[in-house]
Symmetry: C2
């Protein structure tokens, strides 16, 4: 126990879905913190919380600081939400509470936690990142496919670039948040495969109850959701 001291904000990577793919350090920090932070309006709507609850006995007894982040690309709205959330976190830290803030996968890989991390440090508080297994590593494991070997390049492309950069890059491409573009992507990928230029794979809801693994990209449903990772291995011409 520490007295008369400010708390520390821990950005915890809870991994890709399987509660056992959380690190030992993350489990210990969640056990040691008096508060659990979530980037959602309540625990029931937070995937990271559901995973953490399975990994740490008694987690649901700890009080939760809910700092929701709107699903929008409006940067002004987002900034306001991050500012307001950070103020709440800082208030708790100044009262001496340590906070375990949950983040799917790894916080540094497109994690909303990083926005709070920067703001809380700027406000003069302490914050630390506890790394987690990113979803694409777990997807590769399920598919038994290496992401990179020897001198291969790996490109991680979020939504906006998924269809645009497919022809451009050599090596492995990891297409994240590709929901909504699946029809277009499948068409392009099947064409690349027919031409002997690539092999594509996909995993939907990796490590979760409704996980589905696709060794053939042709079988990926066109209404595949947000948590779909597509892995493309491109051969050099």
């Amino acid at each position: 126990m520490r007295w008369n001291m400010e708390g520390i904000l821990y950005g915890i990577g809870v991994g890709p879905g399987d509660p056992e793919l959380i690190t030992v350090k993350a489990v210990k920090r969640m056990q040691g913190c008096s508060l659990i932070g979530i980037p959602a309006k309540d625990p029931a709507s937070c995937t990271a919380y559901k995973i953490a609850k399975e990994a740490v006995a008694g987690l649901e007894k700890k009080p939760v600081v809910a700092v929701p982040v709107p699903m929008t690309s409006d940067t002004e709205k987002l900034s306001k939400a991050y500012d307001a959330g950070s103020e709440r976190l800082v208030k708790e830290l100044r009262e001496g509470r340590d906070i375990a803030f949950l983040n799917l996968g790894d916080p540094a890989v497109y994690g909303s936690y990083m926005e709070f991390h920067e703001r809380v440090i700027e406000a003069g508080c302490k914050a630390e990142i506890i790394s987690g297994v990113p979803s694409f590593c777990a997807a590769a494991a399920k598919l038994s496919v290496p992401l990179g070997s020897r001198q291969e390049q790996i490109h991680i492309l979020p939504g906006l670039y998924c269809t645009k950069k497919l022809e451009q890059y050599d090596g492995t491409q990891i297409l994240m948040k590709s929901g909504g573009q699946v029809r277009e992507l499948k068409e392009k990928l099947l064409k690349l495969e027919e031409g002997g230029k690539a092999k594509a794979y996909a995993v939907m809801n990796c490590g979760m109850e409704n996980e589905a693994v696709y060794q053939e990209i042709g079988e990926l449903p066109e209404d595949a959701g947000y948590f779909t990772t597509i892995i493309v291995k491109k051969w050099k011409a």
Copy 2:
């Protein structure tokens, strides 16, 4: 206990260095396996073994299958080593032993384990990958820097491409195995920084005893070793 059954090969990601950054699943598998596999000539020369030993009490009492991989880019020599190593692993699996094969970071990210994985499956045995935290996630955590946020691309470039692709790609570049090219890289990176086009960071031996974190790339020593990760955040022109 299982009788009259073939063993399973587990490719275990032991994470980037800190023994607490191993997943709960990896710890359980190492405890459950009767044999520990290493891609080195003996435990003393194997970094992954040193990390695992700290994470799992009594690990050093388990027998080790050492399948060394030569440090060479000669693909024929490498293939021979992987073939011979896989034969040894298959022999143990056929005698009913489960093997926990250790791999630094995540096996799918440039892990030598994947070579054994493919061959062992081809020989008709069972093999499974237990994901780990890749070194670049831990490096980002130490630096308090996001690898990707919102629509940023992330490019992971091993040795050969480190200096070549620096100008070409937008977003974040992770330069791995850049030892030997540090002088040239530093020159280029400092020029990009002066032009306001990028900010570069580095971590040497992340999570290990001799770890060093460089918020300023100018301070990275030119004789930085194999386990040096450089992170470059490029701003759009």
